[in-house]
Structures are given as structure tokens and as C-alpha cells.
């Protein structure tokens, strides 16, 4: 059984500098970092101290609330620093990588022969568990829950996003091993949501033991929240787990080879990248070796895509969930009568720029806000890019005024900040929508626990 979903509302932002489908080279990271800040609401507790030797798969820190959830080192080496922020909040745990990676060994078995508890234990211990996220709240899944379903998304429609099929190509065995592990975790179905716009890679189309759904349409069709909404919406009390198809590969490798192999291919993209392409690196890698000599001056480095990614410095590190490193021009220049300019070079979802007449143009957008924050005035613009049967503005307003009751009624359980990214992009009043949604989810979680 499968379902075909066609998303109508939304928009693709065509940016210059999409990654060409070839792997240029492998960058061996000299330093990797795990950032507890990649995991919303997480309170980390350190398992190591500076100077400790770790292997790939050794725990660096764990979740204070659910102690079984470990965050393990992506490489072997020495813990060289723990960066702390205000109130001694842990921001980064730095590991200096060995030249030759040593792996902790975990259970190596066909997941379909294991029990649910054994599968969970293997995933928790090795540190692949945090790849699984849950709705509601868009946080790491709680291993004590049994989800209604698990959704694996195999498309990414965000600007300059990597092609999951290209990265996963030829890795059917690992992918299937990962899916088999996931199947063990739920009484319901595992859904694999694949690209319905073009032909999906055979790694995805030939997957077994899962329900394959084809999702077509513009961004945010690739957001798993949108997919769930159209396949089987989340109600109050439901728990659905989600993850990216590329993370399933890592889980698959764990069961096939018995190790936490955090190497991954990422898309290195953006208008300032000289040769945008795919690069083999490792989770949490320091990006200096990647970007050195390969980008133009004056860029903003983003781990992830330009809509939902995290701003990092040019010697910063990739975030846990990201398969993309984007470099776009940093803004900051005043624009003389900018609100009156004809705007051939600006992409707008409204019709107020002449660029509307050139639908296939690729844009080189910078990080300017193009205006100042204002009260919400214009209506209807969020709805155009929010393909759920939810009223986004009303939900946002209920979050702004801390109205928990209305947040629930208006469907906050179904959404994640990333689903609002296009709303935030389009907002005439420059409202920080994703930030509000994150705060709303955190508030709700606190209220419910």
C-alpha cells in the first residue's frame, strides 16, 4: 500500500550555487564537535572531561532527563575542550580526531532477528538514537514511548538541499538494515516518503517492509511534518517518530558492521562556493578544511539550508542533523530607497518585484532582512506557503500570547519550527516565526510534563 500526496501550496526558492552531483573529495576532519544546542530542550550532562581519550561511539554527554539517551563521539581522539556559555551552559564538546579512527564495538546483527528492547539498547548505546525525533515538540524521541508510526523522509526540498538519492545511491543493504531496525520500534507502520516530483533513487523505491509514499510539490513538501499531515495527521496524544533517510544509513551501518560510523556526504553549496558539489566528511566536522580556498570572501556560513540552518563561523562545525553546508553573501549594506527599487535581483513571493516576470531565474540572495520588524499587517501570505489544514497566523498569535489551550486546539502538535520557515521568509513584517514556534513548543512541553 502506498499513498501519493501532491502538495499545492508552497514555494521553491531558486538560489544560485546548487551542489553539482559529484563527490569532489574526502575531507578528513581534524576536529569534531558535538553541540548540545542542536537538540532543543536538551539538558546535557557530561560523561567525559577534557583530556579523556574516546573512540568513535564513546559517550560524550547524555540527556539529564532520560539518561539512556547518549551522545557519542563521531570520531576517536582526545576531548580537548568543553565550551561553555552563560550560566555554564555547555555549548560544544570538542574532540581532536585521530588520524586512524578507532571504533567502539556494538552488537552486529540483523535487526529483524532481535527483540525491540535489543534494538533500542544497541541504538541508544551507540549514539544513533538522537537521529530519531518525535512529534509533538520536534525533539529527540523518548525511548520509553512506542510511536504510532515512524516517518522517514527521503526528500529535501529546501533551497540548495542535497539530493538524498544521490548520497544514498548504491547503499541499499545499509538502508534496508536501518529500516529493519526501525520496523522493530513501532506497532504501526514505518513510512518511507520519497520524491514524487522526479524519479526517486532505487535505494528508496526498492525498500521493503515499509509503506512507500510519493510526495510531490514545492517546498515545504520535503518537510516530514507536512508529509505526516497529509498521510495520517497527528492528534493530541499521538506520538510519531521522524528521521531523515540519510540517518537511516548510519543506523543501518551500526547493525551491519557493529560500529557508529558518523562519516557522511554533505552538499557544499551556495553562491559564494567556487565549486559547489558533494563532500565526504564526518558529523560535527570543523569546516575550515572544507571552506579554505574554496569560497569567496564575505560569506555567511550556514550549517544546514538558508531557511532553517544555523549560522556558524568560518572555523565552526557542522550540526548534528545537517547534510548541507551553505555559504551565501552576508548583507549589511543600507539600500537607498530600497523599498522603491524595481527589484530584478530580489526574489519575492509577492508580486511587487519585477523579478516575478522571470520565473526561472536563479537568485543570489544575501542575509539582509530587507526591512524592519513590524506588527503583523498583511494577511494571507503565510497560508500561501503553509500546506497544512492549520491556521498558521492564528496559531502563531496564540503562541505569542501564551495561550496553551488555543495552541493545542489550533494544531501545535503537528508542527515544527521548520514547517514555518517559508512563512518567516515571506513575512512582510519580518516576524521571527520559527523562534516563536520553538518557544511555543518548549512551553507546551513544560506544561505537559
Amino acid at each position: 500500500m502506498s499513498k501519493d500526496v501532491k502538495i499545492k501550496r508552497g514555494a521553491n526558492i531558486n538560489l544560485k550555487g546548487a551542489a553539482e552531483k559529484l563527490h569532489t573529495n574526502t575531507i578528513t576532519a581534524t576536529e569534531v564537535v558535538l553541540k548540545p544546542t542542536d537538540f532543543p530542550t536538551l539538558i546535557p550532562k557530561l560523561s567525559v572531561k577534557v583530556g579523556d581519550k574516546v573512540k568513535a561511539g564513546s559517550p560524550l554527554f547524555y540527556n539529564k532527563e532520560i539518561e539512556e539517551v547518549l551522545f557519542t563521539s563521531p570520531v576517536s581522539g582526545e576531548v580537548i575542550d568543553v565550551v561553555r556559555g552563560d550560566k555554564r551552559k555547555i555549548l560544544e564538546v570538542k574532540v581532536k580526531a585521530d588520524a586512524e579512527i578507532q571504533y567502539e564495538s556494538f552488537k552486529q546483527a540483523d535487526a529483524s532477528t532481535l527483540s525491540r528492547e535489543e534494538v533500542k539498547e544497541n541504538m541508544l548505546k551507540s549514539g544513533v538514537w538522537p537521529f530519531i525525533r518525535q512529534r509533538p515538540y520536534d525533539i529527540i524521541a523518548n525511548p520509553k514511548d512506542t510511536p504510532k508510526a515512524i516517518h522517514v523522509t527521503a526528500i529535501d526540498t529546501a533551497p540548495l538541499a542535497p539530493d538524498y538519492g544521490f548520497i544514498a545511491h548504491g547503499k541499499s543493504a545499509e538502508f534496508q538494515a536501518g529500516l529493519d531496525a526501525l520496523v522493530k520500534l513501532t506497532d504501526g507502520k514505518v513510512h518511507l516518503n520519497i520524491n514524487g516530483n522526479t524519479n526517486a533513487d532505487e535505494v528508496f523505491t526498492t525498500a521493503k517492509n515499509v509503506q512507500i509514499n510519493r510526495i510531490a510539490g514545492p517546498h515545504p513538501a520535503g518537510n516530514v511534518g507536512i508529509q505526516i499531515h497529509h498521510i495520517e495527521p497527528i492528534n493530541k496524544g499521538d506520538i510519531v517518530w521522524t528521521l531523515k533517510a540519510l540517518d537511516v544509513l548510519t543506523i543501518g551501518k551500526l547493525f551491519k558492521e557493529g560500529k557508529f560510523d558518523a562519516t557522511r556526504s554533505i552538499a557544499f553549496a551556495g553562491s559564494l562556493v567556487k565549486k559547489p558539489a558533494y563532500i565526504k566528511t564526518v558529523l560535527g566536522a570543523k569546516i575550515d578544511a572544507i571552506v579554505k580556498g574554496n569560497v569567496e570572501e564575505g560569506g555567511r556560513y550556514i550549517s544546514g539550508n538558508p531557511l532553517t540552518g544555523t549560522k556558524i563561523s568560518e572555523d565552526g562545525h557542522l550540526s548534528f542533523y545537517d547534510y548541507q553546508l551553505t555559504v551565501i553573501p552576508e548583507g549589511g549594506n543600507n539600500q537607498f530607497f530600497g523599498w522603491l527599487a524595481p527589484g530584478f535581483d530580489k526574489f519575492s513571493l509577492s508580486g511587487t518585484f519585477f523579478s516575478k516576470l522571470m520565473p526561472n531565474k536563479k537568485y543570489d540572495l544575501n542575509t539582509n532582512m530587507n526591512g524592519e520588524e513590524r506588527s503583523l499587517v498583511v494577511t494571507g501570505e503565510y497560508e500561501k506557503v503553509f500546506p497544512m489544514d492549520i491556521y498558521p497566523v492564528q496559531l502563531l498569535k496564540s503562541i505569542m500570547v501564551d495561550d496553551i489551550d488555543n495552541m493545542e486546539k489550533l494544531g501545535i502538535y503537528e508542527v515544527a519550527p521548520e514547517d514555518f520557515a517559508l512563512c518567516e521568509y515571506a513575512c512582510t513584517s519580518k516576524t521571527p516565526v520559527q523562534q516563536y514556534v520553538r518557544e511555543g513548543l518548549n512551553k507546551l512541553k513544560k506544561e505537559m510534563s
Binding site: S350, L376, V377, T379, Q394
Partner: protein, 396 residues
């Protein structure tokens, strides 16, 4: 540009200095010249090119055809009243005379409206330590366009103060108001100074210089007032047939007479997506349906006026295009917008026909529906909530 930037930076007053108003004014001016180069910090790294200034400017651009036509028509009606031109000669004769005469009458109203309104806004912004918001850019242009030409300037000022303070600032400023600001000004004048705002005296400027006199049989009545008395026939005798009313060389408020000019503005608003096509369409539809129903009833000549004719006289088109579509005071949900617009159309024609004392039914209809819009939205959203709850109970 660079020189201007440097100069502006040089005279920049302190934000928390002795004169907060000075900073607000400076900030307002500076952001007018330069879109500040703020960059995105958290959340999205790239942003749409549009901002509130651009949105408002699009509306003002859309108002330009109505404004220019209004200015010209003020002159045309004036010279018509003097008998210096005939209705047939609306474009050829005395083009510049009419235009200059109109401009001299209309521009002071615009200046008063903007001056007073922005003044009040700046004071409130300084007082609240907010940046100046752009809402009044459009209101300031709408207010003159919906007033009769002979309104005294002090009244424009008083009405603008009332509208900005009571209509908007008490609710929290731009984006928070319940009723349309420009219509609040109009309604204030209508109810506070009825003698100056209705009747047949105010719609055409009849200031006479020495040696001039009004043409015989001049009435100065608007087509609406005539239609109440005599229906289609009366309109045709005063040169306000459907086509003539559509083009707009008829007496009326400054900007509302030409449906053609309004249509040009509507086109811009729709192409740019600034105004809701849902509201515009459903308002016209509502008006058409109501007029059609009155046709069937046919109790008096006004009721028998064809729907097309109803839509092109009075302020109906102007209200539907520029007032009903105000996103702040209108319905915010897409379903709600259809209902909201449709009811505006219905009520506008209904008030106009049933109560000849209030020929400007559009104004009252929109104000009334502004107040009803949150209720409509409430029920639209309640339906969505109910649907979500049902999903749970079906499962359970």
C-alpha cells in the same frame, strides 16, 4: 547617496536623549531614505524582498489614478457648474485649467491629512519609544480621496486626529486597529458635521469670482442622491448613465467617482498580490446580488436601478477596492474573506436603498463588517478546531 548617509548619521539625535521626538523623526526619515542593512540573526538567513514600506507604497501607487482623475474632475465639475464647459467636453476643453484648479483645491486637503496624521503618529511613536510604522502612509492618502471637495480644512485636521487617536493608537497602533482608519475619519465627519458632509452643496466647488455665475438649473447633487429620487431616468438626464458613471465625470467625493481609475488601481493591487482578490471579488458579487434582488422587488425607481449601475455610482467601487481589502480590519482567514466581502456588498446596497439619509452605505457597511470580521474568523477557526477534534473521536 553616500553623502546623504553621512549627513544623516552626523545629525543623528540620541535615542534616549532629551528629545525622543527628534530621534523618532530622524529614524522615520532615515529609514525612508535607506532600508537599513539589518541582517537576519536567528531563524531564516534569507528574507523576502518585501517589507511594509513597499506594501504601503504599492497601495499609494494604486491610488494615483484615482487621485489624478479626482483632481481633474474637481476642476471639470467646477467649470461645468459655471457653464464654461459642457459635459460632452470633458477632456478637450480647458484641460490644464481644470487640472490646476483641482490641484489647488485637493492638494491642501492632502497636505493637512498627511501633516496632521503623521504628526500624531510621530508623537505617539516617540512617546511609546517605537519606530514609526507605515500604516498612515495609506490612510493619509485615503482620507482626502473619500471627502467631498468643499470640506473645510480644519475639519479634515480634526477628523484625522480623531481617526488616528481613537481609531488606531488607542488600540496599539498600526496592525492593531479594529476599524478602518480612513473610514473612521469619514464617519466622524459624517456624523459630527452632517450639514457639511451631505446634501447637494458640498460635492462641487462653486466658489465664484467676480463676474461668474452658476449655470441655470445647477443642482450639485451626486448621482446617488438623484438615483434615490428618480432611478435610472434621473441618472441618465444628469449624464450619469452606466458608462458615464464608470468613466467618472460625475459629482462625488474626490477620488471615488471614476470606477475606471479605481479599476486601474485594483489591477495593480491584484497583480502585486497586495490586496485580497477574495474580498474584492466577493464584495462586488455581494453588491451585484443585492441589487439584483432589489430589481426583482422593484418597489421604487431606485430599487429598479440595474446592478451594474449600482456598482459604478457612489463610493462602492472605491470602498470595495481600497477599504474593504484593508488586511488589518478585514477578515483574516481565506474562507472568512469571502463571507466578509460578500456581506459588505450586500449591506452597502441595502443601506443605500433602504435609508436615503445615508446614501454612503458603503462606508457604514465596511465599518460594520470591520467589527464583525473577528466574529466571522472566530467561527471559521472554530470549524477547523472542530474538524481536528473530530479526528480524535473518530479514532477513539
Amino acid at each position: 547617496m553616500k553623502a546623504l548617509d553621512n549627513f544623516m548619521q552626523k545629525i543623528k539625535p540620541k535615542a534616549d536623549g532629551k528629545f525622543p521626538l527628534a530621534y523618532t523623526v530622524w529614524d522615520g526619515m532615515y529609514t525612508l531614505f535607506f532600508v537599513p542593512g539589518h541582517t537576519n540573526k536567528n531563524g531564516v538567513h534569507i528574507r523576502d524582498g518585501i517589507d511594509l514600506k513597499r506594501t504601503m507604497v504599492m497601495v499609494i501607487l494604486a491610488l494615483v489614478p484615482s487621485l489624478l482623475f479626482g483632481i481633474y474632475n474637481v476642476g471639470h465639475q467646477h467649470f461645468l457648474a459655471l457653464g464654461e464647459v459642457t459635459t460632452a467636453n470633458h477632456v478637450c476643453d480647458m484641460f490644464w485649467d481644470k487640472f490646476i484648479f483641482g490641484a489647488l483645491k485637493v492638494l491642501p486637503i492632502i497636505i493637512v491629512s498627511y501633516g496632521v496624521g503623521l504628526g500624531v503618529e510621530f508623537i505617539f511613536a516617540a512617546f511609546n519609544k517605537h519606530a514609526i510604522q507605515e500604516g498612515f502612509l495609506v490612510s493619509g492618502m485615503l482620507i482626502p480621496l473619500i471627502l467631498p471637495i468643499d470640506v473645510p480644512l480644519w475639519m479634515v485636521g480634526v477628523a484625522t486626529v480623531f481617526a488616528v487617536v481613537i481609531g488606531k493608537e488607542v488600540f496599539g497602533g498600526t496592525g492593531m486597529n479594529i476599524v478602518n482608519v480612513a473610514l473612521t475619519a469619514r464617519a466622524f465627519l459624517f456624523f459630527a458635521y452632517p450639514t457639511k458632509m451631505s446634501g447637494d452643496e458640498v460635492w462641487v466647488n462653486t466658489s465664484l469670482e467676480e463676474g461668474q455665475q452658476l449655470v441655470d438649473g445647477f443642482s450639485g447633487a451626486t448621482p446617488l442622491a438623484q438615483a434615490v429620487k428618480g432611478g435610472t431616468e434621473a441618472l441618465n438626464t444628469m449624464n450619469a448613465s452606466v458608462m458615464e458613471s464608470f468613466i467618472g465625470f460625475i459629482p462625488g467625493s474626490i477620488g471615488e467617482t471614476s470606477t475606471l481609475a479605481i479599476g486601474l488601481g485594483a489591477l495593480l493591487l491584484l497583480i502585486t498580490g497586495i490586496a485580497s482578490w477574495r474580498i474584492m471579488l466577493s464584495t462586488f458579487l455581494g453588491g451585484y446580488v443585492m441589487a439584483l434582488l432589489f430589481n426583482l422587488w422593484g418597489a421604487n425607481p431606485f430599487m429598479e436601478l440595474t446592478p451594474m449601475h449600482q456598482l459604478v455610482i457612489g463610493g462602492f467601487a472605491f470602498g470595495a477596492v481600497f477599504m474593504a481589502t484593508d488586511p488589518v480590519t478585514g477578515s483574516q482567514t481565506n474562507t472568512g474573506k469571502y463571507i466578509y466581502g460578500f456581506l459588505i456588498g450586500i449591506f452597502a446596497i441595502m443601506i443605500r436603498v433602504f435609508n436615503p439619509a445615508y446614501p454612503e452605505g458603503v462606508m457604514l457597511a465596511i465599518l460594520f463588517m470591520n467589527i464583525m470580521a473577528p466574529l466571522i474568523d472566530h467561527y471559521v477557526i472554530a470549524a477547523n478546531i472542530k474538524k481536528r477534534l473530530k479526528r480524535v473521536s473518530v479514532k477513539a
